[in-house]
């Protein structure tokens, strides 16, 4: 086997199979288990990122196992999958490191690490799969892992919300499976490479879209995501910011961006749905008082901007949408991890009981501010460039109502993040005894994410070149 193919199989096999050995490592000692879990995360990221030179050089790598009836298991590394895999694996690795302290005093830690790594592995499988059926398989595996993780604290309320999460996303996934079966009988294959540039029927596209929207928590399936906030912060961070909601976005980019030529009316529907989603969730974020729910609603709202970029149908917007995935993963991951530190040290999630935390948690506060600026889209942070490109591209297509909806959404983003920062870090302290700063590894992880967000803005040239190359070489039906 060539080196790229080895890397490709390793990026999927290491976390998927490695996850099941975590309980064994847990038998040895706590330290061995934690080290092993972090190593799995780092190894996955290394393998995924090491594929970048190959795909940048115009090469692709494929690995396939033959299954009956055209259900072949195909892993395929191209510009899009390597891009997405590297981002997800990177944020997951940071989260694993952060977890070392965050999770250290709870029950069920072994299950936690197993599920996080299994989640990462399923995500890798999903991203690299070039067969729609196997995308579905890994899609469900991520749903399973998130079910266990959302129910981590095990109270009736937690478990009920975990069940809600899995039922909503599995319902969407089954709709998607109907769409996949339609594609299967329309085209006779599920190999995405063979389907490149083909037309897709409205019905199939609509069913697949239902699955995508349920996973990315976009209207009308958005309600599970704020509820899933009962999980530990690392999980909400992992699920929301970095990986789970991006699965839907990735699937959109993969299926309707670079494989099928989506009909125009279909893309327009997606734009209106996303616009409504952006407004409704931004409104919810403005009035919510639970810090994690605010950030969760903010995620729903930002995901809509990614859809705006991906569905606008021109290259500028598509590049913007891809960059948005990168910027949002980093910044939103940072916000959630900050929320985790705050929640752990103040023992509350209610922002009305916080206030004035900046003096006691300066580093967390600074990281939170930096990440917020990136999400708002203030230059020179990375978030500015992605938001600018998305709007510039969308403006070219000139649907004024859509643009207006998103413009209002962007202003509301500004408002709720300023409000959140003010309520938590500035103002008068409200009933807390000046909590301590988070532990060293936790603070270092959030600061790293914040600085990376800034660096991505300053060095915007490199990711922009990558995504432009991606769009140019893989994009279908883009102006």
């Amino acid at each position: 086997m060539d080196l790229p193919i080895k890397l490709l199989t390793l990026a999927v096999a290491v976390p998927v199979f490695g996850a099941f050995l975590i309980p064994l490592a847990g038998r040895l000692s706590v330290a061995a288990r934690n080290t092993y879990a972090v190593l799995l995360g780092l190894a996955t990221f290394t393998a995924a990122a090491a594929l970048a030179p190959t795909v940048l050089g115009g090469q692709t790598a494929s690995f396939s196992l033959s299954f009956p009836r055209g259900f072949d298991f195909i892993l395929h590394a191209d510009l899009l999958s390597v891009f997405m895999a590297s981002i997800s694996a990177f944020v997951s690795a940071v989260i694993l490191i952060y977890s070392l302290d965050y999770i250290s005093h709870y029950e069920n830690q072994t299950e936690y690490y197993t599920m996080v790594v299994l989640f990462l592995g399923s995500m890798m499988g999903l991203v690299f799969s070039a067969n729609l059926l196997w995308m579905y398989v890994f899609w469900e595996m991520t749903g399973f892992a998130s079910w266990r993780l959302v129910g981590f604290f095990r109270s009736d309320r937690d478990v009920a919300k975990a069940n809600k999460t899995i039922l909503v996303t599995v319902f969407g996934a089954l709709c998607m499976l109907v769409g996949i079966i339609m594609v299967y009988f329309d085209h006779g294959t599920l190999d995405l490479r063979a389907l490149h540039g083909q037309a897709i029927s409205y019905a199939a596209a609509a069913f697949i879209l239902a699955g995508i929207l349920s996973k990315s928590a976009t209207l009308p399936f958005s309600t599970w995501l704020p509820d899933a906030g009962v999980a530990p912060s690392t999980v909400t961070s992992l699920l929301h910011a970095a990986v789970l909601v991006k699965i839907g976005v990735y699937a959109y980019a993969r299926i309707f961006g670079v494989t099928f030529a989506a009909p125009d009316a279909f893309s327009n529907t997606v734009l209106y749905l996303a616009g409504a989603s952006a407004l409704v969730s931004a409104g919810a974020a403005l009035i919510e008082t639970d810090i994690k729910r605010i950030i969760a609603y903010s995620t729903v709202s930002q995901i809509a901007f990614i859809f705006l970029g991906l569905a606008s149908g021109n290259k500028t917007a598509f590049v913007g949408g891809l960059l948005y995935i990168l910027m949002h993963s980093v910044a939103k991951g940072g916000l959630f991890l900050c929320a985790g530190i705050i929640e752990q040290n103040t023992h509350t999630k209610d922002i009305t009981k916080m206030g004035g935390l900046f003096s006691s948690m300066p580093v967390t506060g600074a990281a939170f501010a930096l990440c917020s600026l990136s999400v708002m889209g203030i230059p020179p942070f990375g978030g500015f460039f992605s938001k600018y490109l998305v709007f510039a591209g969308a403006a070219q297509n000139g649907s004024l109502p859509v643009l207006l909806m998103f413009f209002v959404g962007a202003i509301m983003t500004l408002l709720y993040l300023v409000r959140l920062f003010y309520k938590v870090f500035l103002g008068e302290p409200a009933g807390h005894g000046n909590p301590r700063e988070g532990s060293y590894t936790m603070v270092a992880s959030v600061m790293a994410l914040a600085l990376i967000g800034l660096a991505l803005g300053l060095l915007i040239h490199y990711p922009a070149v990558y995504t432009e190359l991606l769009t140019g070489s893989l994009g279908v039906n883009l102006q």
């Binding site: 009956p68 398989v137 595996m141 399973f144 109270s155 009736d156 478990v159 899995i166 319902f171």
Partner: protein
């Protein structure tokens, strides 16, 4: 009679006869004899089916139609799990221990007879033997619930037997022969099929009742709930599947539904299958007793098999066979786990349990594997069999059925999630504090079956090749 597999019928029968004498004064010997008999049979079967050379040859060397071999293996696998479990589960002082094992072995022999026979009369004889042993097995639990279940079983299955024998007579009169081949040849010809189809329909109706398909499902929850815990695993895992569902699949292939002969019968069968899926799943949502929920879940899963059998295309038959085997694996795990719960916590009432995963992690995780497979979550085995069934429906143009069957997976998942929440997931309840994990031998069957579920899911291509070979042999 498929003579190659005759030994698998005779040896358990012989053991069943020997046990009461040999183990009269040494009850533990009964455990040993029953387990050894079934283990030896299973090892033999695995050697027949899974030798490397056989696998490499695409299973072309399998004797007979392959269907019998697969099902005999399933019978032995479930039988072994049940006897092994029983050996540690049964009360030391149970008075009729020997009779219990003899009955299980006789029922294994009868099931082997059912799946190896090649004519309707022998089929009927073995079905009756099976019904009588099941009846007796349900009453092993001599509490009121056991008797109630047994009586319900009696009152519904014996009329079913009457229907079957009436159907067989009609078939004898109109066809002149009772062998499966005669029916197959007749259906392949162009002769108008009126009376023959009528006879077959009567037989089919009998088996539908025995399989517990809606609207004839009312006996199954009572029988499963009332029976002794390992007995309900035996009944739900394999007995009702062999005595009812197997015959439905067999008849469906003999009647050549895919040719469009006996179209009305095929349509009715599919409708009843879909109805079972829906009614079973919705009823399971409302149950508060673990075993009753599993019973309704069985009804729903049998619906999938009947739906596929009613369609009868080669792909559908493959899906039906695959799902039949899968059902045996995951339902056995769940019923055995309910037995473990009963042993450890003293109840299967879900309201009284909670947080059991802390004290019973193995039971909890094997349940998760089995329930995900039942709900058709990939990459477990249940996903592939459901996918084949749904693809077959779609291919035949029955898109409504396909979508409905697919979406009812979400209801399956919903009731299992509820069960998992009430029983295992969640905070520790009082029951969880006081009930330790059951001993390793009691866990072994559930762990083994869970391993089979995972393995069949991951090794789907091999199993697909096998099932395809079976479908080709029994349909052509």
């Amino acid at each position: 009679m498929d003579k190659g597999l005759l030994a698998y019928l005779l040896i358990p029968l012989l053991s069943a006869v020997v046990i009461p004498f040999a183990a009269r004064n040494r009850p533990k010997l009964a455990d040993l004899l029953a387990n050894v008999t079934l283990l030896a049979g299973l090892v033999n079967l695995l050697w027949l089916a899974l030798r490397p050379s056989v696998i490499a040859g695409g299973f072309a060397d399998i004797p007979g139609d392959g269907f019998s071999l697969l099902l005999v293996s399933a019978v032995y696998l479930v039988g072994l799990c049940v006897t092994f479990f029983s050996a540690w589960f049964l009360d030391e002082k149970l008075p009729n221990r020997q009779a219990y094992y003899s009955l299980i072995l006789v029922s294994v022999a009868a099931m082997t007879g059912v799946v190896t026979t090649t004519d309707f009369f022998t089929l009927y004889v073995f079905i009756e033997v099976l019904a009588v042993t099941s009846f007796a097995l349900i009453t092993t639990d001599d509490s009121g619930a056991g008797l109630e279940g047994a009586l319900k079983y009696f009152f519904l299955t014996f009329p079913a037997s009457a229907l079957i024998i009436a159907g067989i007579s009609v078939l004898m009169l109109s066809l002149g022969s009772l062998s499966f081949d005669a029916l197959r040849v007749f259906m392949a010809s162009d002769i108008p099929s009126g009376p023959v189809t009528f006879g077959a329909a009567l037989i089919m109706l009998g088996f539908i009742i025995k399989a517990g398909v809606v609207p004839f499902h009312t006996w199954t929850p009572d029988a499963y709930q009332g029976a002794y815990a390992p007995v309900s695993a035996h009944l739900a895992g394999i007995v009702t599947k062999i005595s009812g569902v197997y015959a439905i699949i067999k008849l469906a292939t003999l009647l050549r539904f895919f040719d469009g002969r006996a179209q009305a019968l095929s349509g009715i069968l599919m409708f009843l299958g879909m109805l079972s899926i829906a009614v079973g799943a919705l009823a399971a949502l409302k149950q508060t007793d673990f075993k009753r929920m599993l019973a309704f879940s069985s009804i729903s899963q049998v619906g999938y098999i009947v739906l596929a059998a009613g369609l009868g295309t080669p792909l559908a038959v493959m899906g039906a066979i695959f799902h039949l085997f899968n059902h045996a694996t995951f339902k056995t795990v769940l019923f055995l786990n309910s037995a473990s719960l009963e042993k450890s916590a003293g109840t299967t009432d879900m309201e009284k349990l909670g947080g059991m995963e802390h004290s019973m992690p193995w039971t909890s995780w094997t349940s998760v594997v089995a329930l995900l497979s039942t709900a058709g979550v990939p990459p477990l085995s249940g996903f592939w069999s459901k996918l084949l069934i749904i693809l077959a429906l779609w291919e035949a143009g029955l898109k409504t059925y396909a979508v409905l069957a697919l979406l009812f997976s979400i209801v399956t998942l919903a009731y299992f999630m509820m069960m998992q929440k009430k029983v295992f997931f969640g905070r520790k309840s009082q029951a969880a504090e006081s009930s330790p994990e059951v001993s390793a031998p009691l866990l072994a069957p559930a762990v083994l079956m869970s391993a089979v579920i995972v393995a069949l899911g991951l090794l789907f291509p091999y199993f697909y090749t096998y099932v395809k070979m079976v479908a080709e042999r029994i349909i052509l």
